[in-house]
Structure formats: C-alpha cells, structure tokens
Symmetry: C2
Subunit: 360 residues, 2 copies
C-alpha cells in the first residue's frame, strides 16, 4: 500500500480557549479531554492501524514551538520525521507548498496527509478507514479532503458540497463555501450533500505541486527559494526568515482548494470529530465532567448543574451554578455562561488593545 506521510500543522492560536491557550503555549500543546495533549492525541492517531502504511509524523510549527513538539513527541515515545520551523505565520497555503516540495524529494510515490494538531477524533479506526477510501483518488491525481458529517447547523465552519460519485464514499467536490449564517446552515443540513470542512487533506506531492503551479505560482516560487536557503538540524528544518517573509500569506482553501477542479471528498466522515473550538464545545464533549469535577481535590461544586469547572491549581468553589463555564488557568479566571463562549475572543482582543500581551 502507498506510504502516507502525516504532516501535523501546529500553527493554531486557539484564541477562544484563552486563558488556557496563549501565544506562549497554544491550545494544541495542552490536554483538553484526557491526560494527553491535543498534539499527543494527534501523534498517536497518526501511528495508524493495521493495513495502513504510515511514516513517522512530520510537523509544521512556529520556531519557538520546536522544542515543545519534540518534547511532547518524546514523552509518548513517538519518533519524528521532520519538524518544519516557521519564522513567522504565513497561513496554510505556503506550508502545503513547502511540504509538497520536501516530500517530493523524500518519497515522490508517497501521499501527504495534512491535518491540524488540535482536533479531537473519537474513532481512530474510522479516521483511517476514511483516509484509506481517499487514497486511491489521491494516487490518481485528486486533492482529497475529508467531509465531516454535520452534527447540526453550525455557523462556525466552512462547508463543502459534494458532487458526482467517484468511488464508494468518494465524490467530486462541487464547491467550497464560507461559514454560513444560521438559515443557510440549516438548508445545508437539510440538503444532505454539504459537509464540514475540517481542513484535513490527502494528496500526492506532484498533484499539489501542479496545483500551485496553476493557481498560486508566486507562493510556490517564494517557498522554493525559502527551502533552498533553509537549514537542516537533525529533524528540524529551519525555514529561512528573509525568504519566508516574502511568501504571500494565504489559506490552502482559498489559494488552491476553491480554485482547483480536481478536488475530491470522502463523505460522510462520521468519526466523532470536534475541533474543540470553544469552551462550550469542550464542555459539551466531556459530558460526564460535572460528576468528575466533584471528585477533584481542588474543585468543589455544590448544587451545580451542567457546568464546566477547570483549574490548574487554585481551589474553585462553585455554588448553585447552571450552564456556567469557569476556567482558572495561568493566574487568570474566566467565567461565562456556555452561550457566551464565543465572546472569549472579544476579551482577548480587548486585552491586546490595552497592551496586555503578557496575558494573551
């Protein structure tokens, strides 16, 4: 079977999970659901299952995060293929261009599985089953994406509309659409052929290289120059800052996926996926937390209902709380009803406006 090279993107900021997620240690480097960090959960998921042929994972992360990626991999005994260090953020399109050029040299016959570090997936077998379904299309020149089965009329995700069937559970992509309003999201859900875009892509290096040549040649050229000037140090590939700063910032969706006509979707992907994009999503995911909370040494919940209490040390005493989220992390206390969880980003923005970057 074709070898798959996972490339784990660690660039997310996870702003809505402040004050846990901060610039100095973003969401993916924290444990949200269990004892392992999101990154470690993703690494273990990338160890594959019987019947798939998976290489050691590679990573793309901010320069400052290289060591934490290495440490968190080592802590679970995982080997690392490459850690690509970005001197600055340039969104996802440049990193797709860079890993395509890189892996075209390492194994031009392999497939690249590009995925975010900070997603929760309950069903690992299901994940690999979906990847396996898409592999043949990817080998034959498609840019393959996973279409997550919508669990409701979510307005926080982009959607992908499926078109003509290519194989079992694999379809052409008719179009990518931006985050919809609620009414539109409901119509997507009703239609049955719209899926959540989880930002997980499977493709061969040459297919992606050809797509960049056609749709985003400036990104490809500046990335090639960057790679030539970059330095390797063990698993670490330090992208050259002078050159990388010249690369246009763009998302892979906008630069490539929405423009290419060779995009395929594996759908429906129903694998217990969540991007845990907000505290309320985490609270809903961990349904039994209320009961667990009561048993924690530093959480007292008296007459509390449907509430999520989390602390990294200080005692929390909650009395008569309902549908409330309380997060004590990094010497900061956040309190809000679940339905205000989206407004965390306003607080972070306000802190930045005040020059309190030390808190963000």
């Amino acid at each position: 079977m074709t070898k798959i090279y996972p490339v784990i993107m660690c660039g997310g900021a996870g702003t809505r999970l402040w004050p846990l997620s901060r610039k100095s240690k973003a969401k993916q480097y924290h444990n949200l659901v269990g004892d392992l960090t999101m990154l470690q959960e993703t690494i273990l998921r990338m160890q594959g299952v019987d019947g798939v042929n998976v290489a050691d994972p590679s990573f793309v992360c901010a320069e400052q995060d290289g060591e934490i990626v290495k440490e968190q991999s080592a802590a679970i005994g995982a080997d690392v293929l490459r850690v690509i260090l970005e001197p600055m953020g340039r969104n996802t399109a440049p990193l797709a261009a860079i890993v395509s050029q890189l892996f075209d040299e390492i194994d031009p016959e392999g497939l690249i599985l590009l995925l975010p570090a900070d997603h929760h997936i309950a069903n690992k077998d299901g994940f690999w089953s979906c990847v396996a379904k898409g592999a043949e299309s990817a080998k034959s020149g498609k840019l393959v994406t996973l279409g997550i089965q919508p669990q409701g009329p979510e307005t926080g995700y982009g959607y992908i509309k499926s078109g003509k069937m290519l194989a079992s559970d694999v379809y052409e992509v008719e179009k990518f659409v931006e985050k919809p309003n609620l009414e539109t999201a409901k119509s997507y859900l009703a239609s049955g052929d719209y899926y959540w875009n989880a930002g997980i892509f499977l493709f061969s290096p040459q297919t992606m290289i050809a797509s960049f040549a056609q749709h985003a040649e400036d990104i490809q050229n500046t990335c090639q120059t960057t790679l030539t000037a970059s330095t390797q140090n063990g698993p670490f590939l330090h992208l050259d800052g002078n050159n990388f700063s010249q690369v246009p910032s763009d998302s892979i969706d906008y630069a490539i996926m929405e423009r290419a006509d060779n995009v395929a979707i594996v759908a429906p992907v129903d694998i217990g996926w969540s991007d845990i994009g907000s505290w309320s999503e985490l609270a809903n995911l961990v349904q039994s937390l209320d009961a667990e909370n009561r048993n924690q040494d530093n959480i007292i919940a008296l007459d509390c209902k449907d509430s999520y209490l989390r602390t990294d040390g200080p005692l929390i005493a909650g009395i008569g709380l309902e549908d409330l989220i309380v997060v004590v992390e990094n010497n900061t206390v956040l309190i809000m009803p679940k339905d205000k969880a989206q407004d965390v980003k306003k607080v972070v923005a306000g802190l930045k406006d005040k020059g309190r970057d030390d808190l963000c």
Copy 2:
C-alpha cells in the same frame, strides 16, 4: 460629660465571607468597602465627635491577632488603651465580665461601649448621637443596647422588643428574641416596636458586675481568677490560659441581657448599619461596584449586570454574568449567584470535614 471607654470585640470568624475571611485573617482585618479594614473603620468611628468624651479604644482579640490589631491601629495613627488577648474563644459573656472588672479599676465613673469590630456604619454622627442618648440611662444603672431600625424582614438577626419609654428615644426592653422565621420577621416589621440586635452595648462597670453577680456568677468568678493570673505587657493583657479555659462559654445576650430586668434600648437607630454578613450584603452595599469593576486593571466585565467581582491579584474576565458573585482571594475562586451567598458556610464546613483546614 461621662467618659466612654470603647471596647472593640475582634473575635468574629466571618465564615460567610470566605475565602477572604479565614482563620488566619478574619473578616474584620480586611478592607471590604473602602481602603480601610473593618477594624480601622471601627477605630476611626471610636474617635468620637464633638461633644462626646471618648477614651482611646481597647480591644479583645485572639492571642494570635494581637499584633495585627496593633499594626492596623498604628497604620492609621490611633493610640490603643488595652489589647486583651484571649488564649481561646469563650464567646462574648466572659469578655463583658473581664472588661467590666478591668475598667472598674481604671475608671469606675466611666461607661463601657462594647461593640463588634466588623460592622459597617455609614453615619458616624448618628451613631454618637444614639450613644449620647443612652448614656444617661447607662449612668443610672441600665444595660443599654442599640436597636437598629429594621430595613426589611431579615431572618439573620436577633430582634429586641421595646417597652415603656424612659427618655427621648430610650425605652425599656420588653424582650430579646432569637432569629425569627420569615413570617415572624414580617410581623415584627409590621408591629414597629421590634429592632435588630446589633450586639452593641453601653453600660457602667458596676452595673455589669452586679448583673453577672445576679445572673452568671460562675462566669464572673472564673473571669476574676483569670484576670488575677494574667500578665500585662505594654497595652497587651494576656489572659491566663489555664484559668480562662475554665470559664464557661456563653454569649452576653444569653447570659445577661435576656435575663436582666434593667435593660434599656435606644431606638430607632437608623445610621446606615450593616454587619456585612455575606457577600451578597457587601455586593448590595457597594451599589456602584459594577461600574468601578470595569475600570480596574485586573477585572474585565463584558456585558455583566448586577454582579460583584473581586480579586486580590489574578485577572478576572467575566462575560454575560448576571447577579453573580465572583471572589478571587487567597489562591481560591468562589462563584455563586447572589441568592446562594448563605451557602458559603456549607463549603467551609465541607472543607473542614475533608481536613482542609489550610483553606479555611
């Protein structure tokens, strides 16, 4: 005019103001309303007004709190007459017996004004006007108490029923009654001759000594023995532990006031009194806090309403909160709706049950 000797009782635990108020530093030693501590506010109030003749204040406190009393007095430039140090708590009756015997030696012609350290009184002039009204009765052999004008059918206070008029705004006491249920409290309020018992008393040493001889001779005798064995060190009077441990524990209300037939009440006392017995009382007292909170460096309140946020350091970010109390003190976070403020004592009791005295 007769000289008045204020004796400030510092023995309150203030459990319902946990986690601010703890055994190691109880409510009265903290600032609740302004920049001064409750004790300091009380000391300044005891400096009197024109036309009254007030001695420097004396204090009764736990042995471990002697230094903090001295420090907080010195910090506002107040002189101290006596600091009576209790090796253990014995409620209020023994301390009334001890200060009566003590001040009978210092100035048998003076009056003792016995009052708690942890009450808020907005109207200082009004307070002294009420004390002056009661002074003549106290001189003539009455145990005088202040009858606070009820502000509502409170079930958290004891009440005093007034009887025959003795002088302008001074009445005989018909009876003391325990904390009532709501229905009874409403009937008290409607009757117009029930007042809140604030535990503030004015009396001559000899009157109190005679009352103890009649109603609680065992307390008086053991207190006399304690005093004889005690040691003076500057303003500090260290009560002898062996003897004091033999003193029966009882409240002045139960041991003396409810039994004596020479009790008078100054009423109505309408001086902006509050014992700030709970976080909700404090929140209601400090009505403008919402606005103030928003301007504090370490409090962010976004779309919050009628909520009280307080921190001794860590940043609090509250979003969409309503009628909520959030207190961050001593590395502990307390969150509850205002109407659950009485349940704080359950949390403290629970912590004690768990052996977490370090947190209480």
